[in-house]
Structures are given as C-alpha cells and as structure tokens.
C-alpha cells in the first residue's frame, strides 16, 4: 500500500507538472490583462492539431518546436482583433467573449479535422518504460516533465532577466504607471497574451502524445488549471506551479482509495484552501 501511494505521489507530480504548464499560461494572461481566458483549452487543442498536421512534413520534433509558436501567433491575432477591445470594461465582457471563443474553437477543430479522434504518433523510443518497477515512468512522460521544467524555467528567466519580463511584472503591479512611464501597454499585453497561449500550445502538443487527439482534448484540462490558480493564489506564478502539482498529487493519491472521487478531490482541496487561506497558498493579501 505504501508503495502504491508513493507511486501515485510520483505520478501525481508528473500530471501536476502538466496542469501547472497550462495554468501558468492562464495565470500570465489573467495577471496582466485581467482576462479569464475560457478559450485556453481551445488553444491547447489548436496546438495539438497543428502538431498533428505538421508531423508528416517536419516530424515530431519539428512540430514540437513550430506548433506552439503558431498557436501563440493565432493567440496574438485573437488578442489584437477581439480581446483588446474589451480591456478596461467589466471582466464579464472578456469572460463571455472567451467563453464563446471556446465553443468556436471546438467546433472549428471539429469542422477542419473531424469529430473522430486522430492517431497521434510519438517517436518509438519515447514510448518505452524506463524500468519494470516504475513502469509508469515512460520515456515520453519523463521527457514531458523535463520539457515542462525547461518551459517553466524559461518563463521565469524571461520574467526576471529580460526587459519584456520586467515590464510584464511591473504591469501586473501597476499598469497605469507603466503606461505613464512610456511603455507601450498595448504591445505588452499583446506579447504577454501570446506568451500565455504559447504555454497552452506547448501543453497541447504534449497532451496529444498522452491522450486521444479530439476536439474536446482541452475540456478536461481547463478545470484543473483554474483550480491550480485559485489554490496557488491569484497573481502568483510560483503559486500556480505549486497549485498544479498539488492537484496532481491529490488526484493520484485519491485514486488509491476512492477512484470515483479523483476528479472531485481538487474541488475539495480548493474549498479547504479558500476556507483556511482565502488568498491562496502563495497569493498576496489584498492583491486580488
């Protein structure tokens, strides 16, 4: 039993890392622009389908590089054409817009690629398990965790070591002052949205190797991402990371004892955190 729990903790961290990747993109957009992006799961699906389409031409590795950038480009266009118009209005507007956008993306992918699941092939050598004891550690899952770690590290380096990151962080704290100081806030928000969508696209490319590739691929991943943000604390990217990992572990361990509650447990976790520490684990008091 102890071994089973330990296995599920380890497995939960792997899944949690994936939730965190998606939640970080969502959190970036929320923090700077105040947009609750319901269409994040849709962008994940776009990333996955673009990779599927690109693989015959550029191979798995080429698709892994290109698809998230293409998804980010689509995200930048969407921000430029649709979302930008709603800044400064009640958050309900952008919430409704992205809600509708999520439907459009889901039906759009169904229209272009069909309703049937598509077989998404990953390189053969990534499919093998690394040890017969830890059989759930496949090459692909380890690769996924490493890539998530690199992406998260890259994101934190961008945010802490680059001018763009400095501006994003400053904008998160006080966008108006940043604007007064001469920073083009429009471009900043646009690039930040693209960065968030890049994370969704990357999550999509990775998810398709593990899950079935279907238009609803993002649906089941959007809720854990929201919960990760709330548990970790609004406004805190490290909090989002911790929230994602916690949800993964909680879900894995619950499966050992009560599998049918493996999904519900994240809401229980959220309720407990909200009761004990309403601002979330690493959220700043008064920040949101």
């Amino acid at each position: 039993m102890v071994q089973l729990i330990l296995f599920n903790v380890l497995n939960g961290l792997i899944i949690g890392a994936f939730y965190a990747l998606m939640a970080l993109g969502l959190s970036l957009i929320l923090n700077l622009s105040g947009v609750i992006n319901f269409a994040h799961g849709g962008f994940l699906a776009i990333g996955a389908y673009l990779a599927y389409t690109l693989i015959p031409y550029v191979g798995f590795w080429g698709a892994l590089l290109a698809a998230p950038f293409l998804t980010a480009f689509i995200g930048i266009l969407v921000e430029r054409v649709l979302i930008r118009r709603l800044y400064g209005r009640d958050p309900l507007y952008s919430l409704l817009l992205t809600f509708g956008l999520a439907f459009m993306i889901e039906d759009g992918t169904r229209f272009i690629w069909g309703a049937d699941s598509l077989p998404y092939q990953i390189p053969g050598w990534l499919q093998n398990t690394l040890s017969s004891q830890l059989f759930f550690l496949t090459g692909y899952r380890v690769f996924m965790v490493v890539l998530v770690a690199v992406a998260v590290l890259g994101l934190f380096l961008i945010l802490t070591r680059t001018r763009l990151g400095l501006r994003i962080r400053a904008g998160t704290l006080d966008l108006e002052t940043l604007s007064v100081l001469g920073v083009n806030v429009r471009i900043l928000r646009n690039l930040n949205f693209g960065l968030g969508i890049y994370m969704a696209g990357l999550a999509g490319v990775l998810a398709a190797g593990m899950l079935g590739l279907q238009p609803t691929i993002g649906d089941s991943l959007i809720m854990p991402s929201f919960v990760a943000i709330i548990v970790g604390g609004l406004g805190s990217l490290p909090g989002t990371l911790v929230g994602g990992l916690l949800i993964g572990v909680a879900s894995g361990v619950t499966t050992v004892f009560l599998p049918s509650a493996s999904e519900a447990v994240m809401y229980v976790l959220m309720a407990v955190v909200l009761l004990i520490r309403p601002r979330g684990l690493l959220g700043e008091e008064g920040r949101f």
Partner: protein, 424 residues
Amino acid sequence: MPSGNPNSRLGIGRRTVIKAAAAAGVFQVAAPFVQTARAADNVKIGLDNPLTGTFAALGKNELIGAKLAVEQINAKGGILGRKVELLVEDSTSGDAATAVQKANKLIERDKVNFLLGNINSALAQAMANVSYEKGVFHIVPGGHTDSVTGSECHWNVFRVCNTTRMETNSVSQLLLTSYGKKWYFITTDYAFGHSLQEGFEASLKAANGTEVGHDFTPLGTSDFSANLIKAQAAKPDALILLLAGDDMINCLKQAVQFGMDKKTHIAGAQQELEVLDGLPAEALVGDWVFEWYWKQSNVPHVAQFVADVRKRSGGKVPTARTWFGYASVWSCQLAAERAKSLVPVKMAKAMQGMVLPPEVALMPNNPFYRKGDNQLMPTLFVGHAQKPPTGGDPEDLFKVTEEVKGMDAALPVDQTGCKMTWPT
C-alpha cells in the same frame, strides 16, 4: 461595474475567478441548437443524440446512418406515402437535463412521430421515461444499459444496439478460458459502465473467478495513469476496460505506453471502430465485441451499404454506430408500414417479433425485435483489435473470430426484469 475586491486593479476578485471556474463546468455541458426546416405534413423523426463532447464522433456516425436511411426511404415513397424528415438535436454527451429538454422540444413543439436517441445510456433511459410519459414511439439506437429493455422497459421503447449483458456474455467465455480468472475492472462511472461490470461479475462468479479490484472513473476522464498503477499492483490476469468513446482511447493509449499489454491481457466488452481509428498502431490491442462490422463478405447488401456510406463520410467505412442510426430509422418505416398507421401503440404491437429484412439487417442470423422486452436480437462479432493488414484497407482494424447469436447472449425475457404494461 467591476466586481470583486476594491483593491484589485483589474477589477477581478477571487470570487470572479471562482465563478468563472464554475461557469467552465457549465461550458462542458452547454450545447448548440440544431434544427432543420420542416413541412407540416411530413413524417417527422427526431434524433436527440450527442453532437458535441466525448460521444460526438459516435453521434456523428449515427447521424450519417440515419440520414442515409431517410434518403433511401424517401426515394422509395416515404412512410405511408408521406415524405420523411429528420430533425436533429444535440443532447450533449452527458447532461441528462439537456437531453430531456431537447426530447420534450421534439415531442411538444416539433410533434415528431418517432423519437430516436441516445448514445449515453443514462440519457437514453431519461429520454425513454419522457417518451413513455408522452406515449411517443421511441427507438434507442445506441444506449446499452440493461434497464432500457430490462427493469425500466416500456411498451413504446425499442432498442437496436445490444444490452450490456449480451455484450459481456458473448465475450466472457473467451476471456475466462484463454486468459485466466483474475480480473481488474476500470469502468466508466455511469449506467453503461456499471451494468457492463455487473454482467462480467456475474460471468466471473459463475466461473469461480476473482475480481481483484475495480475503479470507477468519471466520464470524460483524460488521465488514467493512477488507475493503471493501481491495476498493475493487483496483478490481474486480465485488465477489463469498460469505457467508451474518448475515455477508452485515453486509457488504452496510456495502458500500452505503460507496457501493460505485455504484462496482462487487455480486454473488455464493447469496442468501436471510432475508438480503434483514433489509436496509434501500437495501441491496437485486446479482445472485444463489435456490434456490427463492415467486413462481411458473404452477407448480402453490406458491400452496397459500405459504398453508400463511404460516399457520405469522406471515404470512411460505416461503423456499428452508422448501422445503428440506419437500422433505427428503417425500423420506424417498417413499424409504420407494418401497422399501416402512425399510432404509436399500433406500431409498437407491429414491431413485436419483427424480423429486419436483409437490406436493413446487414448481418447474419435474421435479427429481430424480441417480443416481451422490445430488444433487437442481432449478431455480435467477437474478436480482437489488429493493425491494418499489409496492403489491406487501413480501416480493417478488427479481426472477427466468432459470431454470436443475440439470443444465445441475451438473458431470457423473464430474467431481464422487464414487466411491460401496455395501454388499454
């Protein structure tokens, strides 16, 4: 007026995000509204089936079959000389309230003569209760839970697909004799999965086998890794996957990535071509039951049906779902013509024991609607998933090893729990 904490610069508070998260849940059950133009004197068939969500692909194929049947019926003069019209509603994949609301709309507002649906067993049962209350002739094309033609059967409700018990009975013996008697179940947590598991448990008990564990997983689960870790720890002879749609794809893909197909035997009851089509080659494993298969070289009319469907589905072959939709619509026509009436009770009586003609049956052994529980007794195709044969059709993903007659797999009527009360 921005909501939330006044300290929040963005006007978004924790409460807003929590509300948004709740709305995200609603998003997963909301569905678009589909309707076609119609004329008053047409015979109307209302199809209330998933077009979105986890069962969207299955729903789309049932729709293709239903449309083909409507075309053919209209080309032959319609039903009782009237043109047939198909009204389509998206029931969603898992929201019973939406499915019932759409069924009510089809019955009350559109005045359909026939109601068809649903793929989701729980939704099919909910719709059956509505159609019974309203006295509307109803065919369930593809919702398998036993109760639809069992403990909650109704005189007006007929079913084309098999009961879950028929599916488990048809494959149990093969699994018990070939792979051993220690089974672990991963089961989708709703009516369909529950009744499949009950069926297998009955077979296992009769053979003095052991259930070494089971996991009920919520519909729409994407990650099965924790369940698979648990299953592997139980060291079963066979890992029985009682899932459907995208859940089955996700679980099979992950099980094979974990190498579980090499440690234990993967099997289950119902398998669908839509699922196998969505799997990479290495995940085409396991023993299953197909309810209809497109490769039946010796059965009349099948080749023509396959060709007709290919023309309407971008070259893809029909699946069991396509045939369910097709046979359901044709059953409406056969019932009305046989009863010479569109009065539901007359049609329901005309359907008792009715044998499907070969051009509709498209399978051996003369499938018929059994008197007493309104369940079609078709042929079940037992076999295993396979990689497409070299030089063969890329959609030939299943090898049929045994054809089981429906009557040999079904429980006798008096054991189904069906007690039908006819209107006086």
